[in-house]
Protein backbone atom coordinates (compact mmCIF):
# COMPACT_ATOMS: atom_id res chain seq x y z
CA UNK A 1 0.00 0.00 0.00
CA UNK A 2 2.68 2.48 1.10
CA UNK A 3 4.67 1.52 -1.97
CA UNK A 4 1.87 2.63 -4.28
CA UNK A 5 1.20 5.98 -2.63
CA UNK A 6 2.55 8.13 -5.50
CA UNK A 7 0.17 6.48 -7.95
CA UNK A 8 -2.78 6.49 -5.55
CA UNK A 9 -2.35 10.22 -5.14
CA UNK A 10 -3.49 10.61 -8.77
CA UNK A 11 -5.67 7.55 -9.26
CA UNK A 12 -8.04 8.17 -6.37
CA UNK A 13 -9.08 11.72 -7.32
CA UNK A 14 -9.26 10.75 -11.00
CA UNK A 15 -11.64 7.87 -10.33
CA UNK A 16 -13.73 9.87 -7.87
CA UNK A 17 -13.95 12.65 -10.46
CA UNK A 18 -15.73 10.19 -12.75
CA UNK A 19 -18.11 9.03 -10.01
CA UNK A 20 -18.87 12.53 -8.71
CA UNK A 21 -21.40 13.64 -11.38
CA UNK A 22 -23.21 10.29 -11.13
CA UNK A 23 -23.75 10.38 -7.36
CA UNK A 24 -24.43 14.09 -7.71
CA UNK A 25 -27.62 13.23 -9.60
CA UNK A 26 -29.11 11.91 -6.35
CA UNK A 27 -28.22 15.04 -4.44
CA UNK A 28 -25.48 17.54 -5.09
CA UNK A 29 -24.29 17.41 -1.47
CA UNK A 30 -23.10 13.84 -2.05
CA UNK A 31 -20.58 15.11 -4.58
CA UNK A 32 -19.43 17.66 -2.01
CA UNK A 33 -18.78 14.84 0.46
CA UNK A 34 -16.94 12.87 -2.21
CA UNK A 35 -14.66 15.80 -3.08
CA UNK A 36 -13.96 16.78 0.52
CA UNK A 37 -13.06 13.23 1.52
CA UNK A 38 -10.93 12.71 -1.60
CA UNK A 39 -8.94 15.90 -1.18
CA UNK A 40 -8.44 14.99 2.47
CA UNK A 41 -7.11 11.59 1.43
CA UNK A 42 -4.74 13.34 -0.99
CA UNK A 43 -3.55 15.54 1.85
CA UNK A 44 -2.90 12.52 4.08
CA UNK A 45 -1.05 10.76 1.26
CA UNK A 46 1.08 13.87 0.72
CA UNK A 47 2.01 13.89 4.41
CA UNK A 48 2.84 10.20 4.28
CA UNK A 49 4.99 10.81 1.21
CA UNK A 50 6.92 13.52 3.04
CA UNK A 51 7.41 11.17 5.96
CA UNK A 52 8.62 8.40 3.61
CA UNK A 53 11.00 10.81 1.88
CA UNK A 54 12.45 11.91 5.19
CA UNK A 55 13.11 8.26 6.10
CA UNK A 56 14.35 6.73 2.88
CA UNK A 57 15.16 9.64 0.60
CA UNK A 58 13.88 10.07 -2.95
CA UNK A 59 10.95 7.81 -3.87
CA UNK A 60 10.93 6.40 -7.38
CA UNK A 61 7.70 4.71 -8.41
CA UNK A 62 7.65 2.77 -11.66
CA UNK A 63 4.29 3.11 -13.38
CA UNK A 64 3.04 -0.44 -14.15
CA UNK A 65 6.48 -1.73 -13.27
CA UNK A 66 8.32 -0.41 -16.34
CA UNK A 67 11.89 0.57 -15.63
CA UNK A 68 12.34 4.40 -15.60
CA UNK A 69 13.96 5.67 -18.76
CA UNK A 70 11.46 3.57 -20.75
CA UNK A 71 8.40 3.67 -18.57
CA UNK A 72 6.87 6.61 -16.76
CA UNK A 73 8.45 7.29 -13.42
CA UNK A 74 6.75 9.05 -10.51
CA UNK A 75 9.43 10.51 -8.32
CA UNK A 76 9.08 12.31 -5.02
CA UNK A 77 11.78 14.14 -3.12
CA UNK A 78 11.56 16.95 -0.56
CA UNK A 79 10.54 19.54 -3.13
CA UNK A 80 7.72 17.42 -4.57
CA UNK A 81 6.41 16.42 -1.16
CA UNK A 82 6.50 20.03 0.05
CA UNK A 83 4.53 21.32 -2.95
CA UNK A 84 2.14 18.35 -2.77
CA UNK A 85 1.27 19.21 0.82
CA UNK A 86 0.59 22.84 -0.07
CA UNK A 87 -1.59 21.90 -3.05
CA UNK A 88 -3.58 19.16 -1.37
CA UNK A 89 -4.11 21.14 1.82
CA UNK A 90 -5.41 24.18 -0.03
CA UNK A 91 -7.58 21.94 -2.22
CA UNK A 92 -9.02 20.37 0.94
CA UNK A 93 -9.66 23.76 2.56
CA UNK A 94 -11.25 24.96 -0.69
CA UNK A 95 -13.48 21.90 -0.84
CA UNK A 96 -14.86 22.50 2.67
CA UNK A 97 -15.29 26.17 1.89
CA UNK A 98 -16.98 25.61 -1.47
CA UNK A 99 -20.20 24.11 -0.06
CA UNK A 100 -21.71 27.44 1.01
CA UNK A 101 -19.76 29.56 -1.43
CA UNK A 102 -21.25 27.98 -4.54
CA UNK A 103 -24.72 28.47 -3.06
CA UNK A 104 -24.42 32.10 -4.04
CA UNK A 105 -21.82 32.01 -6.80
CA UNK A 106 -23.16 29.02 -8.75
CA UNK A 107 -26.85 28.98 -7.98
CA UNK A 108 -27.93 26.32 -10.46
CA UNK A 109 -28.36 23.01 -8.56
CA UNK A 110 -27.68 20.86 -11.63
CA UNK A 111 -24.34 22.55 -12.18
CA UNK A 112 -23.00 21.93 -8.69
CA UNK A 113 -22.00 18.25 -9.17
CA UNK A 114 -20.28 19.28 -12.40
CA UNK A 115 -18.41 21.98 -10.53
CA UNK A 116 -17.09 19.33 -8.15
CA UNK A 117 -16.08 17.05 -11.01
CA UNK A 118 -14.06 19.81 -12.64
CA UNK A 119 -12.63 20.81 -9.29
CA UNK A 120 -11.34 17.29 -8.70
CA UNK A 121 -9.91 17.07 -12.22
CA UNK A 122 -8.14 20.35 -11.62
CA UNK A 123 -6.64 19.03 -8.39
CA UNK A 124 -5.70 15.73 -10.07
CA UNK A 125 -3.86 17.58 -12.82
CA UNK A 126 -1.94 19.73 -10.36
CA UNK A 127 -0.99 16.85 -8.06
CA UNK A 128 0.04 14.83 -11.12
CA UNK A 129 2.28 17.61 -12.43
CA UNK A 130 4.09 17.66 -9.12
CA UNK A 131 4.44 13.93 -8.59
CA UNK A 132 5.49 12.84 -12.07
CA UNK A 133 9.11 12.42 -13.10
CA UNK A 134 8.43 12.42 -16.82
CA UNK A 135 8.48 15.68 -18.72
CA UNK A 136 5.87 14.70 -21.32
CA UNK A 137 3.63 13.52 -18.52
CA UNK A 138 3.93 17.01 -17.05
CA UNK A 139 2.55 18.40 -20.32
CA UNK A 140 -0.45 16.03 -20.31
CA UNK A 141 -1.31 16.73 -16.68
CA UNK A 142 -0.71 20.45 -17.24
CA UNK A 143 -3.38 20.35 -19.93
CA UNK A 144 -5.77 18.41 -17.68
CA UNK A 145 -5.34 20.99 -14.95
CA UNK A 146 -5.57 23.89 -17.42
CA UNK A 147 -8.71 22.68 -19.20
CA UNK A 148 -10.39 22.14 -15.85
CA UNK A 149 -9.16 25.57 -14.78
CA UNK A 150 -10.67 27.29 -17.84
CA UNK A 151 -14.03 25.65 -17.13
CA UNK A 152 -13.87 26.62 -13.44
CA UNK A 153 -13.26 30.27 -14.33
CA UNK A 154 -16.11 30.25 -16.84
CA UNK A 155 -18.49 29.29 -14.01
CA UNK A 156 -18.31 32.88 -12.71
CA UNK A 157 -21.67 34.61 -12.56
CA UNK A 158 -20.86 37.68 -14.63
CA UNK A 159 -20.60 37.27 -18.37
CA UNK A 160 -17.11 38.77 -18.30
CA UNK A 161 -16.03 35.47 -16.72
CA UNK A 162 -16.61 33.78 -20.08
CA UNK A 163 -14.39 36.21 -21.93
CA UNK A 164 -11.75 35.93 -19.23
CA UNK A 165 -11.85 32.13 -19.47
CA UNK A 166 -11.63 32.30 -23.27
CA UNK A 167 -8.60 34.59 -23.17
CA UNK A 168 -6.94 32.40 -20.57
CA UNK A 169 -7.63 29.37 -22.74
CA UNK A 170 -5.99 30.95 -25.78
CA UNK A 171 -2.94 32.13 -23.84
CA UNK A 172 -2.71 28.96 -21.79
CA UNK A 173 -2.86 26.75 -24.88
CA UNK A 174 -0.17 28.76 -26.61
CA UNK A 175 1.94 28.41 -23.47
CA UNK A 176 1.38 24.67 -23.17
CA UNK A 177 2.13 24.18 -26.87
CA UNK A 178 5.40 26.10 -26.46
CA UNK A 179 6.21 23.76 -23.60
CA UNK A 180 5.43 20.76 -25.81
CA UNK A 181 7.61 22.14 -28.60
CA UNK A 182 10.49 22.60 -26.17
CA UNK A 183 10.06 19.05 -24.91
CA UNK A 184 10.21 17.95 -28.56
CA UNK A 185 13.63 19.58 -28.96
CA UNK A 186 14.86 17.91 -25.77
CA UNK A 187 13.66 14.54 -27.02
CA UNK A 188 15.19 15.12 -30.43
CA UNK A 189 18.60 15.75 -28.89
CA UNK A 190 18.64 13.19 -26.08
CA UNK A 191 16.05 10.54 -26.91
CA UNK A 192 14.62 10.53 -23.41
CA UNK A 193 11.75 12.15 -21.57
CA UNK A 194 12.59 11.10 -18.03
CA UNK A 195 13.69 14.10 -15.96
CA UNK A 196 16.43 12.27 -14.07
CA UNK A 197 17.69 10.73 -17.30
CA UNK A 198 17.57 14.10 -19.10
CA UNK A 199 19.72 15.61 -16.37
CA UNK A 200 22.38 12.96 -17.06
CA UNK A 201 22.31 13.18 -20.85
CA UNK A 202 21.90 16.91 -21.40
CA UNK A 203 25.28 18.31 -20.28
CA UNK A 204 27.08 17.14 -23.43
CA UNK A 205 24.65 19.16 -25.57
CA UNK A 206 24.77 22.37 -23.50
CA UNK A 207 26.65 24.18 -26.27
CA UNK A 208 24.10 23.42 -28.99
CA UNK A 209 21.52 25.88 -30.24
CA UNK A 210 18.79 23.23 -30.21
CA UNK A 211 19.02 22.83 -26.43
CA UNK A 212 18.98 26.56 -25.92
CA UNK A 213 15.88 26.77 -28.14
CA UNK A 214 14.30 24.00 -26.08
CA UNK A 215 15.04 25.89 -22.89
CA UNK A 216 13.61 29.11 -24.33
CA UNK A 217 10.38 27.47 -25.50
CA UNK A 218 9.83 25.62 -22.22
CA UNK A 219 10.53 28.64 -20.06
CA UNK A 220 8.34 30.99 -22.10
CA UNK A 221 5.53 28.41 -22.07
CA UNK A 222 5.76 28.03 -18.31
CA UNK A 223 6.00 31.79 -17.83
CA UNK A 224 2.58 32.15 -19.42
CA UNK A 225 1.19 29.54 -17.03
CA UNK A 226 2.91 31.17 -14.09
CA UNK A 227 1.80 34.65 -15.22
CA UNK A 228 5.26 36.18 -14.99
CA UNK A 229 5.15 39.83 -16.01
CA UNK A 230 4.66 40.69 -18.96
CA UNK A 231 2.76 37.46 -19.67
CA UNK A 232 0.27 38.02 -16.86
CA UNK A 233 -2.58 39.55 -18.85
CA UNK A 234 -4.91 36.60 -18.49
CA UNK A 235 -4.62 36.54 -14.71
CA UNK A 236 -6.42 39.63 -13.31
CA UNK A 237 -9.66 39.05 -15.19
CA UNK A 238 -9.61 35.31 -14.59
CA UNK A 239 -9.22 35.62 -10.84
CA UNK A 240 -11.44 38.68 -10.76
CA UNK A 241 -14.52 37.10 -12.35
CA UNK A 242 -14.20 33.46 -11.27
CA UNK A 243 -16.24 32.26 -8.26
CA UNK A 244 -14.35 33.15 -5.07
CA UNK A 245 -13.52 29.59 -4.15
CA UNK A 246 -12.04 29.06 -7.61
CA UNK A 247 -9.97 32.25 -7.35
CA UNK A 248 -8.73 31.15 -3.94
CA UNK A 249 -7.78 27.64 -4.94
CA UNK A 250 -6.28 28.67 -8.28
CA UNK A 251 -4.23 31.46 -6.77
CA UNK A 252 -3.11 29.18 -3.96
CA UNK A 253 -2.27 26.11 -6.02
CA UNK A 254 -2.19 26.72 -9.79
CA UNK A 255 0.57 29.30 -9.81
CA UNK A 256 2.48 27.32 -7.16
CA UNK A 257 2.60 24.24 -9.35
CA UNK A 258 3.67 26.25 -12.39
CA UNK A 259 6.47 27.69 -10.25
CA UNK A 260 7.39 24.19 -9.16
CA UNK A 261 7.68 23.03 -12.78
CA UNK A 262 9.81 26.07 -13.60
CA UNK A 263 12.13 25.20 -10.70
CA UNK A 264 12.31 21.59 -11.85
CA UNK A 265 13.12 22.57 -15.42
CA UNK A 266 15.71 25.16 -14.45
CA UNK A 267 17.48 23.15 -11.76
CA UNK A 268 16.75 19.47 -12.36
CA UNK A 269 16.45 19.13 -16.14
CA UNK A 270 18.94 21.90 -16.80
CA UNK A 271 21.52 22.81 -14.19
CA UNK A 272 23.07 26.11 -13.17
CA UNK A 273 26.09 25.02 -15.28
CA UNK A 274 23.90 25.39 -18.37
CA UNK A 275 23.33 29.08 -17.72
CA UNK A 276 27.01 29.81 -18.31
CA UNK A 277 26.69 28.41 -21.85
CA UNK A 278 23.73 30.53 -22.93
CA UNK A 279 24.26 33.35 -25.40
CA UNK A 280 22.91 35.95 -22.96
CA UNK A 281 22.59 36.17 -19.20
CA UNK A 282 19.43 34.30 -18.22
CA UNK A 283 19.76 35.31 -14.60
CA UNK A 284 19.56 39.03 -15.36
CA UNK A 285 16.52 38.57 -17.58
CA UNK A 286 14.70 36.74 -14.81
CA UNK A 287 15.75 39.28 -12.18
CA UNK A 288 14.57 42.12 -14.40
CA UNK A 289 11.21 40.45 -15.02
CA UNK A 290 10.83 39.62 -11.34
CA UNK A 291 11.52 43.20 -10.27
CA UNK A 292 9.15 44.52 -12.95
CA UNK A 293 6.47 42.07 -11.81
CA UNK A 294 6.89 43.04 -8.15
CA UNK A 295 6.59 46.76 -8.89
CA UNK A 296 3.94 46.64 -11.63
CA UNK A 297 1.81 44.15 -9.69
CA UNK A 298 1.85 46.31 -6.58
CA UNK A 299 1.19 49.56 -8.45
CA UNK A 300 -1.64 48.06 -10.49
CA UNK A 301 -3.14 46.64 -7.30
CA UNK A 302 -3.23 50.16 -5.90
CA UNK A 303 -5.33 51.30 -8.85
CA UNK A 304 -8.11 48.71 -8.46
CA UNK A 305 -11.52 49.33 -6.94
CA UNK A 306 -12.68 45.73 -7.12
CA UNK A 307 -11.13 43.78 -4.28
CA UNK A 308 -10.81 40.51 -6.20
CA UNK A 309 -8.97 42.23 -9.04
CA UNK A 310 -6.76 43.95 -6.50
CA UNK A 311 -5.83 40.57 -5.03
CA UNK A 312 -5.22 39.23 -8.54
CA UNK A 313 -2.77 42.03 -9.36
CA UNK A 314 -1.10 41.53 -6.02
CA UNK A 315 -0.66 37.87 -7.09
CA UNK A 316 1.30 39.11 -10.10
CA UNK A 317 3.61 40.92 -7.69
CA UNK A 318 3.93 37.95 -5.36
CA UNK A 319 4.81 35.68 -8.27
CA UNK A 320 7.59 38.18 -8.91
CA UNK A 321 9.02 37.36 -5.47
CA UNK A 322 8.95 33.65 -6.23
CA UNK A 323 10.75 34.20 -9.55
CA UNK A 324 13.24 36.50 -7.81
CA UNK A 325 14.26 33.72 -5.45
CA UNK A 326 14.50 31.23 -8.31
CA UNK A 327 16.67 33.61 -10.34
CA UNK A 328 19.14 34.35 -7.54
CA UNK A 329 20.51 30.83 -7.99
CA UNK A 330 21.75 30.31 -4.47
CA UNK A 331 20.44 28.15 -1.65
CA UNK A 332 19.12 31.01 0.46
CA UNK A 333 17.26 32.47 -2.51
CA UNK A 334 15.73 29.13 -3.36
CA UNK A 335 14.68 28.72 0.26
CA UNK A 336 13.08 32.16 0.18
CA UNK A 337 11.25 31.18 -2.99
CA UNK A 338 10.01 27.90 -1.58
CA UNK A 339 8.85 29.46 1.67
CA UNK A 340 7.13 32.14 -0.36
CA UNK A 341 5.27 29.40 -2.24
CA UNK A 342 3.77 28.25 1.05
CA UNK A 343 3.33 31.78 2.30
CA UNK A 344 1.54 33.00 -0.81
CA UNK A 345 -0.67 29.91 -0.96
CA UNK A 346 -1.79 30.47 2.63
CA UNK A 347 -2.28 34.21 2.59
CA UNK A 348 -3.79 34.55 -0.87
CA UNK A 349 -6.03 31.59 -0.08
CA UNK A 350 -7.16 33.24 3.15
CA UNK A 351 -7.71 36.61 1.45
CA UNK A 352 -9.84 35.17 -1.36
CA UNK A 353 -11.73 33.01 1.13
CA UNK A 354 -12.50 36.10 3.21
CA UNK A 355 -13.64 38.00 0.12
CA UNK A 356 -15.87 35.05 -0.80
CA UNK A 357 -17.42 35.21 2.66
CA UNK A 358 -18.12 38.92 2.16
CA UNK A 359 -19.70 38.17 -1.21
CA UNK A 360 -21.81 35.50 0.51
CA UNK A 361 -23.19 38.00 3.01
CA UNK A 362 -23.35 41.22 0.99
CA UNK A 363 -23.13 40.11 -2.64
CA UNK A 364 -20.63 42.86 -3.38
CA UNK A 365 -16.88 42.95 -3.67
CA UNK A 366 -15.83 46.54 -4.23
CA UNK A 367 -13.53 48.09 -1.64
CA UNK A 368 -16.13 50.76 -0.85
CA UNK A 369 -18.62 48.16 0.32
CA UNK A 370 -16.31 46.82 2.99
CA UNK A 371 -17.02 49.77 5.27
CA UNK A 372 -17.87 48.74 8.81
CA UNK A 373 -17.65 45.03 8.08
CA UNK A 374 -15.18 44.56 10.94
CA UNK A 375 -18.10 44.68 13.36
CA UNK A 376 -20.48 42.64 11.25
CA UNK A 377 -18.10 39.86 10.28
CA UNK A 378 -15.38 39.92 12.94
CA UNK A 379 -13.93 36.43 12.34
CA UNK A 380 -13.74 36.73 8.59
CA UNK A 381 -12.22 40.16 8.80
CA UNK A 382 -9.73 39.07 11.47
CA UNK A 383 -8.57 36.34 9.08
CA UNK A 384 -8.36 38.91 6.29
CA UNK A 385 -6.28 41.21 8.48
CA UNK A 386 -3.83 38.48 9.51
CA UNK A 387 -3.35 37.45 5.89
CA UNK A 388 -2.93 41.08 4.81
CA UNK A 389 -0.28 41.61 7.50
CA UNK A 390 1.52 38.49 6.33
CA UNK A 391 1.36 39.88 2.81
CA UNK A 392 3.14 43.07 3.83
CA UNK A 393 5.78 41.00 5.61
CA UNK A 394 5.25 42.08 9.22
CA UNK A 395 7.51 40.12 11.61
CA UNK A 396 5.84 37.13 13.32
CA UNK A 397 4.06 36.24 10.08
CA UNK A 398 5.32 33.81 7.51
CA UNK A 399 5.52 36.67 4.98
CA UNK A 400 8.37 38.15 6.97
CA UNK A 401 10.37 34.94 6.83
CA UNK A 402 10.24 34.54 3.05
CA UNK A 403 11.07 38.19 2.45
CA UNK A 404 13.91 37.95 4.96
CA UNK A 405 15.44 35.01 3.11
CA UNK A 406 15.02 36.76 -0.23
CA UNK A 407 16.72 39.89 1.10
CA UNK A 408 19.58 37.89 2.63
CA UNK A 409 20.00 35.96 -0.62
CA UNK A 410 20.16 39.21 -2.62
CA UNK A 411 22.96 40.49 -0.39
CA UNK A 412 24.75 37.13 -0.50
CA UNK A 413 24.88 37.21 -4.28
CA UNK A 414 26.02 40.83 -4.27
CA UNK A 415 22.78 42.31 -5.55
CA UNK A 416 22.05 44.58 -2.64
CA UNK A 417 19.97 46.84 -4.93
CA UNK A 418 17.21 44.25 -4.71
CA UNK A 419 16.71 44.96 -0.99
CA UNK A 420 15.25 48.46 -1.42
CA UNK A 421 12.95 47.08 -4.11
CA UNK A 422 11.66 44.42 -1.72
CA UNK A 423 11.14 47.11 0.91
CA UNK A 424 9.44 49.47 -1.53
CA UNK A 425 7.07 46.76 -2.64
CA UNK A 426 6.28 45.91 0.98
CA UNK A 427 5.36 49.53 1.54
CA UNK A 428 3.14 49.54 -1.56
CA UNK A 429 1.51 46.34 -0.33
CA UNK A 430 0.91 47.96 3.04
CA UNK A 431 -0.67 50.95 1.29
CA UNK A 432 -3.12 48.97 -0.78
CA UNK A 433 -4.12 46.79 2.13
CA UNK A 434 -4.41 49.80 4.42
CA UNK A 435 -7.15 51.18 2.16
CA UNK A 436 -9.16 48.06 2.87
CA UNK A 437 -8.33 47.66 6.55
CA UNK A 438 -9.21 51.31 7.09
CA UNK A 439 -12.64 50.72 5.52
CA UNK A 440 -13.17 47.48 7.41
CA UNK A 441 -12.24 48.49 10.94
CA UNK A 442 -12.31 52.27 11.23
CA UNK A 443 -15.09 53.53 9.00
CA UNK A 444 -18.73 53.09 10.00
CA UNK A 445 -20.98 50.92 7.90
CA UNK A 446 -23.06 52.74 5.26
CA UNK A 447 -26.25 54.07 6.81
CA UNK A 448 -24.77 54.28 10.31
CA UNK A 449 -22.85 57.51 9.93
CA UNK A 450 -25.71 59.51 11.48
CA UNK A 451 -25.47 57.61 14.76
CA UNK A 452 -21.80 58.42 15.07
CA UNK A 453 -22.50 62.10 15.56
CA UNK A 454 -25.19 61.55 18.16
CA UNK A 455 -24.39 61.45 21.88
CA UNK A 456 -25.52 57.92 22.48
CA UNK A 457 -23.48 56.23 19.80
CA UNK A 458 -23.32 52.97 21.73
CA UNK A 459 -27.07 52.64 21.95
CA UNK A 460 -27.29 49.59 19.72
CA UNK A 461 -24.34 47.23 19.29
CA UNK A 462 -23.95 46.09 15.69
CA UNK A 463 -25.24 42.58 15.33
CA UNK A 464 -22.53 40.16 14.32
CA UNK A 465 -23.60 38.37 11.19
CA UNK A 466 -20.57 36.39 10.19
CA UNK A 467 -20.41 33.94 7.32
CA UNK A 468 -21.49 30.32 7.95
CA UNK A 469 -19.09 28.15 9.93
CA UNK A 470 -18.14 26.03 6.92
CA UNK A 471 -16.69 29.20 5.40
CA UNK A 472 -15.26 30.83 8.51
CA UNK A 473 -13.38 27.73 9.72
CA UNK A 474 -11.25 27.17 6.57
CA UNK A 475 -10.68 30.91 6.20
CA UNK A 476 -9.57 31.33 9.77
CA UNK A 477 -7.50 28.16 9.86
CA UNK A 478 -5.55 29.15 6.76
CA UNK A 479 -5.00 32.65 8.14
CA UNK A 480 -3.86 31.35 11.52
CA UNK A 481 -1.40 29.05 9.75
CA UNK A 482 0.26 32.23 8.40
CA UNK A 483 0.96 33.12 12.03
CA UNK A 484 1.85 29.59 13.13
CA UNK A 485 4.47 29.18 10.41
CA UNK A 486 5.68 32.70 11.13
CA UNK A 487 6.27 31.90 14.80
CA UNK A 488 7.43 28.32 14.39
CA UNK A 489 9.14 28.56 11.06
CA UNK A 490 11.35 25.56 11.68
CA UNK A 491 9.22 23.02 9.79
CA UNK A 492 8.84 24.82 6.43
CA UNK A 493 12.36 26.27 6.61
CA UNK A 494 14.01 22.92 7.21
CA UNK A 495 12.07 21.24 4.40
CA UNK A 496 12.76 24.15 2.05
CA UNK A 497 16.45 24.02 2.95
CA UNK A 498 16.71 20.31 2.21
CA UNK A 499 14.83 20.77 -1.08
CA UNK A 500 17.05 23.72 -2.05
CA UNK A 501 20.22 21.81 -1.23
CA UNK A 502 19.11 18.92 -3.45
CA UNK A 503 18.24 21.31 -6.29
CA UNK A 504 21.49 23.27 -6.17
CA UNK A 505 23.87 20.44 -5.34
Amino acid sequence: MIKHLPALLIVIPLLVAIITPIIGRLHWVLSWYAVTITTFISFVISLLLLQTVSVQGRISYWMSGWEPPFGIEYSVDYLNAYVLIIVSFMAFAGAIYSRKNIDVEIEDETRKPLFYTIYLLFVTGLLGMVVTGDIFNIYVLLEIASLAGYALIALGKKRQALVAAYNYLVMGTVGATFFLLGVGYLYLMTGTLNIADLAVRLPEFYETKAIFTAFAFIVVGLSIKLAIFPLHFWLPNSYGYAPSVVSAVMAATGAKVAAYVLIRVMYSVFTPAFFTHTPFNIQYIFLLLAVAAILVGSIMALAQTDIKKMLAYSSVGQIGYIVLGIALMNVTGMMGSLIHLLNHALMKGALFFAVGAVVYRTGLCSIENLRGLGKKMPWTMAAFTIAALSMTGIPLTVGFISKWYLAVASIESGMWWLVPIILLSSILTAVYFWRILDNVWLKPAPGEESHEHGHDSHQKPVKSNDAPLSMVIPTFTVAVLCLVFGLFAYAPVSIAEKAALILLK
Binding site: F136, Y139, V140, E143, L147, Y150, A151, A154, R159, Q160, L162, V163, A165, Y166, L169, V170, T173, V174, A176, T177, L180, L181, G184, Y187, L188
Partner: protein, 123 residues
Protein backbone atom coordinates in the same frame (compact mmCIF):
# COMPACT_ATOMS: atom_id res chain seq x y z
CA UNK B 1 20.94 25.77 -49.90
CA UNK B 2 19.90 22.31 -51.05
CA UNK B 3 20.57 21.05 -47.57
CA UNK B 4 18.21 23.62 -46.13
CA UNK B 5 15.54 22.81 -48.70
CA UNK B 6 15.92 19.09 -48.08
CA UNK B 7 14.64 19.63 -44.56
CA UNK B 8 11.42 21.02 -46.01
CA UNK B 9 9.33 19.31 -43.34
CA UNK B 10 10.85 21.57 -40.69
CA UNK B 11 10.23 24.59 -42.89
CA UNK B 12 6.59 23.62 -43.10
CA UNK B 13 6.52 23.31 -39.31
CA UNK B 14 7.95 26.81 -38.93
CA UNK B 15 5.53 28.28 -41.47
CA UNK B 16 2.55 26.62 -39.78
CA UNK B 17 3.71 27.70 -36.32
CA UNK B 18 4.02 31.34 -37.30
CA UNK B 19 0.81 31.32 -39.35
CA UNK B 20 -1.09 29.85 -36.43
CA UNK B 21 0.37 32.24 -33.90
CA UNK B 22 -0.31 35.18 -36.22
CA UNK B 23 -3.92 34.04 -36.54
CA UNK B 24 -4.32 33.85 -32.78
CA UNK B 25 -2.92 37.33 -32.27
CA UNK B 26 -4.19 39.25 -35.28
CA UNK B 27 -7.76 37.99 -35.76
CA UNK B 28 -10.59 39.66 -33.89
CA UNK B 29 -13.08 36.88 -34.53
CA UNK B 30 -13.11 34.39 -31.67
CA UNK B 31 -13.66 31.37 -33.94
CA UNK B 32 -10.81 32.40 -36.25
CA UNK B 33 -8.56 32.65 -33.21
CA UNK B 34 -9.40 29.03 -32.39
CA UNK B 35 -8.61 28.01 -35.96
CA UNK B 36 -5.26 29.75 -35.58
CA UNK B 37 -4.70 27.87 -32.35
CA UNK B 38 -5.44 24.60 -34.12
CA UNK B 39 -2.97 25.32 -36.90
CA UNK B 40 -0.40 26.20 -34.26
CA UNK B 41 -0.93 22.91 -32.43
CA UNK B 42 -0.90 20.91 -35.66
CA UNK B 43 2.53 22.32 -36.47
CA UNK B 44 3.86 20.75 -33.28
CA UNK B 45 2.28 17.40 -34.21
CA UNK B 46 4.06 17.56 -37.53
CA UNK B 47 7.33 18.45 -35.83
CA UNK B 48 7.18 15.39 -33.57
CA UNK B 49 6.05 13.00 -36.29
CA UNK B 50 8.71 14.13 -38.75
CA UNK B 51 11.48 13.75 -36.19
CA UNK B 52 10.48 10.12 -35.63
CA UNK B 53 10.93 9.25 -39.32
CA UNK B 54 14.06 7.30 -40.29
CA UNK B 55 15.15 7.06 -43.91
CA UNK B 56 13.88 3.76 -45.28
CA UNK B 57 12.05 3.01 -42.05
CA UNK B 58 8.78 1.15 -41.97
CA UNK B 59 5.93 0.98 -39.50
CA UNK B 60 7.17 -0.38 -36.15
CA UNK B 61 5.70 -3.88 -36.33
CA UNK B 62 7.58 -7.01 -35.30
CA UNK B 63 7.81 -9.62 -38.09
CA UNK B 64 7.48 -13.38 -37.43
CA UNK B 65 6.81 -12.83 -33.73
CA UNK B 66 10.22 -11.22 -33.32
CA UNK B 67 12.23 -14.09 -34.84
CA UNK B 68 14.69 -13.60 -37.64
CA UNK B 69 15.90 -10.33 -39.21
CA UNK B 70 13.77 -7.25 -38.60
CA UNK B 71 13.38 -4.30 -40.94
CA UNK B 72 14.53 -0.81 -39.91
CA UNK B 73 11.54 0.94 -38.40
CA UNK B 74 10.64 4.45 -37.32
CA UNK B 75 10.66 5.57 -33.71
CA UNK B 76 7.10 4.89 -32.54
CA UNK B 77 7.32 6.93 -29.35
CA UNK B 78 6.83 10.45 -30.81
CA UNK B 79 3.84 9.15 -32.75
CA UNK B 80 2.28 7.80 -29.57
CA UNK B 81 3.01 11.06 -27.78
CA UNK B 82 1.24 12.90 -30.57
CA UNK B 83 -1.84 10.73 -30.22
CA UNK B 84 -2.08 12.17 -26.71
CA UNK B 85 -1.42 15.66 -28.02
CA UNK B 86 -4.18 15.26 -30.62
CA UNK B 87 -6.63 14.33 -27.87
CA UNK B 88 -5.52 17.36 -25.88
CA UNK B 89 -5.97 19.55 -28.96
CA UNK B 90 -9.48 18.27 -29.56
CA UNK B 91 -10.48 18.81 -25.93
CA UNK B 92 -9.07 22.32 -26.01
CA UNK B 93 -10.98 23.11 -29.19
CA UNK B 94 -14.17 21.67 -27.73
CA UNK B 95 -13.89 23.74 -24.55
CA UNK B 96 -13.01 26.85 -26.56
CA UNK B 97 -16.00 26.41 -28.89
CA UNK B 98 -18.28 25.93 -25.88
CA UNK B 99 -17.06 29.24 -24.52
CA UNK B 100 -17.66 30.91 -27.87
CA UNK B 101 -21.26 29.67 -28.08
CA UNK B 102 -21.93 30.90 -24.57
CA UNK B 103 -20.23 34.22 -25.28
CA UNK B 104 -22.43 34.55 -28.36
CA UNK B 105 -25.54 33.87 -26.27
CA UNK B 106 -24.54 36.45 -23.66
CA UNK B 107 -23.15 39.18 -25.88
CA UNK B 108 -24.79 38.53 -29.25
CA UNK B 109 -21.45 38.80 -31.04
CA UNK B 110 -18.16 36.93 -31.37
CA UNK B 111 -16.06 39.92 -32.48
CA UNK B 112 -13.50 40.71 -29.82
CA UNK B 113 -13.60 44.49 -30.18
CA UNK B 114 -17.39 44.60 -29.88
CA UNK B 115 -17.25 42.42 -26.76
CA UNK B 116 -14.67 44.73 -25.19
CA UNK B 117 -16.91 47.68 -26.06
CA UNK B 118 -19.89 46.01 -24.37
CA UNK B 119 -17.79 45.23 -21.29
CA UNK B 120 -16.72 48.85 -21.04
CA UNK B 121 -20.32 50.05 -21.13
CA UNK B 122 -21.16 47.67 -18.27
CA UNK B 123 -18.38 48.73 -15.91
Amino acid sequence: MIELLAKYNYWIVIILLTTGLYGVMARKNLIKKIIGLNVFQTAVLLFYVSMSKIEGGTAPILLNHGHGPQPVFDNPLPQVLMLTAIVVGISTTAVALTFVTRIYREYGTIEEDQILELNKQND
